[in-house]
C-alpha cells in the first residue's frame, strides 16, 4: 500500500507510544466498535496504572473489558460497568476509581475535548450526587447548570470500517458509536480499520472523520473474542 503520509503502520510499531500511568481513550459500546488488534497489543505490552475514558467497560473477555479485568486500570471515566462484574469488584475493592457520567454527556465531553472546547454545561442528573460530585455549577439567567469538563487523552484508540492513506474514515453501522468523538479527542489518534483504500477512493461526502484527526492507521486482525450472543 502506498503510504504517502506515513500513517499506515502496525500495532507493534506503535506500542512504544504507550506507557504506565497514561491516559487512554477508546471507542466502542459494549465492545462493538472497540479496536481488537490494538487492545491485544496493549494487553501484550503489560502497561498498567492506566486512566481510561470510554463509554463502558465491555464484558470481562470483550473489548476494553480485557484490560480492565486484568487490573491494569487505576481510574476510569465511563457511563456503565454493569456488563463487567470484574470492573464492579475492582471498584468495590478500591482498586479502580470510577467516575460515572451520564452516557450522552460523557460523549459530549469527549466531543468537546476533540473540538477544543474546555467544558460543556449540562442539566442532566443535577439532583444526583454521583453525577454532581466534585463538579462546579454555573448560573445562566435563572437556570443552574453543571459544568462538565471536556475530556482528552494522550492516545485515542478507535475502530473504523475503511481508511484511506490520509486517515479519512468511514464507520460500520452501530460500530460508529463513540469512535468519531474519540477520534478527535486524542493527542495521538490510532485508527484500527477493516480495510485501507487508496487516496481518492472514499467519496468525500461520505467521510465521517477527516484524516486531519488521525495520526496512525493500522489494519485490523479482527475480533478475537466471542460475543455474548454467540
Amino acid at each position: 500500500m502506498n503510504n504517502p503520509f506515513q500513517k499506515i503502520t502496525t500495532a507493534d510499531e506503535l506500542i512504544r507510544h504507550f506507557h504506565d500511568g497514561m491516559t487512554l481513550m477508546y471507542g466502542g459500546f459494549g465492545g462493538v466498535g472497540s479496536p481488537p488488534t490494538i487492545i491485544e497489543a496493549i494487553l501484550q505490552s503489560g502497561i498498567k496504572d492506566l486512566t481510561l475514558i470510554g463509554n463502558d467497560t465491555g464484558f470481562p473477555h470483550i473489548g476494553i473489558g480485557q484490560i480492565v479485568s486484568q487490573g491494569r486500570v487505576r481510574r476510569i471515566t465511563t457511563s456503565h460497568i454493569g456488563s463487567n462484574p470484574i470492573a464492579g469488584q475492582l471498584m468495590t475493592d478500591g482498586k479502580m476509581d470510577v467516575e460515572f457520567c451520564p452516557q450522552g454527556i460523557l460523549a459530549e465531553r469527549i466531543r468537546a475535548g476533540g473540538m477544543g472546547i474546555p467544558a460543556i454545561l449540562s442539566d442532566i442528573g443535577m439532583d444526583n450526587e454521583i453525577v454532581t460530585a466534585g463538579k462546579q455549577t454555573c448560573t445562566i439567567g435563572k437556570q443552574e447548570y453543571l459544568v462538565e469538563p471536556a475530556l482528552t487523552a494522550e492516545i485515542s484508540i478507535i475502530y473504523a470500517k475503511k481508511a484511506d492513506s490520509y486517515g479519512n474514515l468511514i464507520y460500520d453501522k452501530s460500530a460508529r458509536n463513540t469512535n468519531p468523538l474519540c477520534a478527535m479527542a486524542g493527542d495521538i489518534t490510532i485508527a484500527e480499520v477493516e480495510e485501507i483504500v487508496p487516496l481518492g477512493s472514499l467519496h468525500p461526502d461520505e467521510i465521517i472523520t477527516p484524516g486531519v484527526f488521525v495520526d496512525y492507521i493500522i489494519p485490523s486482525e479482527g475480533v478475537n473474542w466471542k460475543w455474548a450472543w454467540e
Binding site: G30, V32, I81, G82, T92, G104, I124, R176, L181
Partner: protein, 219 residues
C-alpha cells in the same frame, strides 16, 4: 422479573397501544423489548437505540447476525428502510432535544410523584447510569412497565422511593401486571385494571394512595 411470558406480553401489548405511527421510541431491556411484537401490522415506528441507531428492526435469524449491528444491550438487530446510524452525541442529542417521543423502560420503584429508581439494585454493585438519566429526564413521555410488587410482595409503586433515583418526577405512565396508572397534575391516577384483578387488589398492592379515574376500565 418472575413474570410469566403471558403476563409479560400482556404488559407489552398495553404499552404498544400508546405508540402512534411515526413516533420515535426508545425501548429498555426486558419487557420493553417485547413491545414491537404487539404493534399493528404496517405501523411505521422509528425505534431508537442510544448506541446510534434510528429505525431499528428485529433480530436477524440465527446465522445472519452482524456483530457491528447491535442494540444498546449488545444483541444483534437489523435496520428498517428509512433507518440511519449516528454517533453517540447525535443519538443523545435526539433525546435531550426532545425528539424522542417515548421511552418504555423497566423500574425497581416509582413514587407517587413520578420519581424513577431503576439503576441501582440494593446489595448489588453500582452498574452506572448508562443513558437512563437522559432518557428519563428528556424523553417526551416516559412509560414504566414492571411488576406491581417485588419478589417479597411489596409494592413497587411507593410514596417515596427508598432506592437511589434515576430521575425525579419524570414518569408519565405505569403499566403493571395488575393495572395502568397515569401521572399528571393531579398526581397518581388509576385508569385501568387488568381482569381478573380488582380495584381492591390494586389498592392492597400499591404502596401509596391514588385517585381513581371516573371512567376506570376493567380490561
Amino acid at each position: 422479573m418472575g413474570l410469566g411470558v403471558d403476563i409479560r406480553n400482556k404488559i407489552a401489548r398495553r404499552a404498544a397501544m400508546e405508540i402512534r405511527q411515526g413516533m420515535v421510541v426508545n425501548l429498555g431491556i426486558g419487557i420493553p423489548s417485547l413491545v414491537p411484537n404487539h404493534l399493528p401490522e404496517g405501523m411505521l415506528v422509528m425505534f431508537h437505540a442510544e448506541n446510534g441507531i434510528t429505525g431499528m428492526g428485529p433480530s436477524p435469524e440465527a446465522g445472519a447476525e452482524d456483530a457491528n449491528l447491535c442494540n444498546a444491550g449488545g444483541f444483534p438487530v437489523s435496520l428498517l428502510p428509512g433507518g440511519s446510524y449516528c454517533d453517540s452525541t447525535i443519538s443523545f442529542g435526539m433525546i435531550r432535544r426532545g425528539r424522542v417521543d417515548m421511552t418504555i423502560l423497566g423500574s425497581l420503584q416509582v413514587s407517587e410523584k413520578g420519581d424513577l429508581a431503576n439503576w441501582i439494585v440494593p446489595g448489588k454493585k453500582v452498574p452506572g447510569m448508562g443513558g437512563a438519566m437522559e432518557l428519563a429526564q428528556k424523553a417526551k413521555k416516559v412509560i414504566v412497565v414492571m411488576n406491581q410488587t417485588d419478589k417479597h410482595g411489596k409494592s413497587k409503586i411507593v410514596e417515596s422511593c427508598t432506592l437511589p433515583l434515576t430521575s425525579s418526577g419524570c414518569v408519565d405512565m405505569i403499566i403493571t401486571d395488575m393495572a395502568v396508572f397515569t401521572l399528571g397534575k393531579e398526581g397518581l391516577e388509576l385508569t385501568e385494571v387488568f381482569a381478573p384483578h380488582t380495584i381492591e387488589e390494586v389498592i392492597l398492592n400499591t404502596g401509596c394512595t391514588f385517585n381513581t379515574n371516573k371512567e376506570l376500565k376493567v380490561i
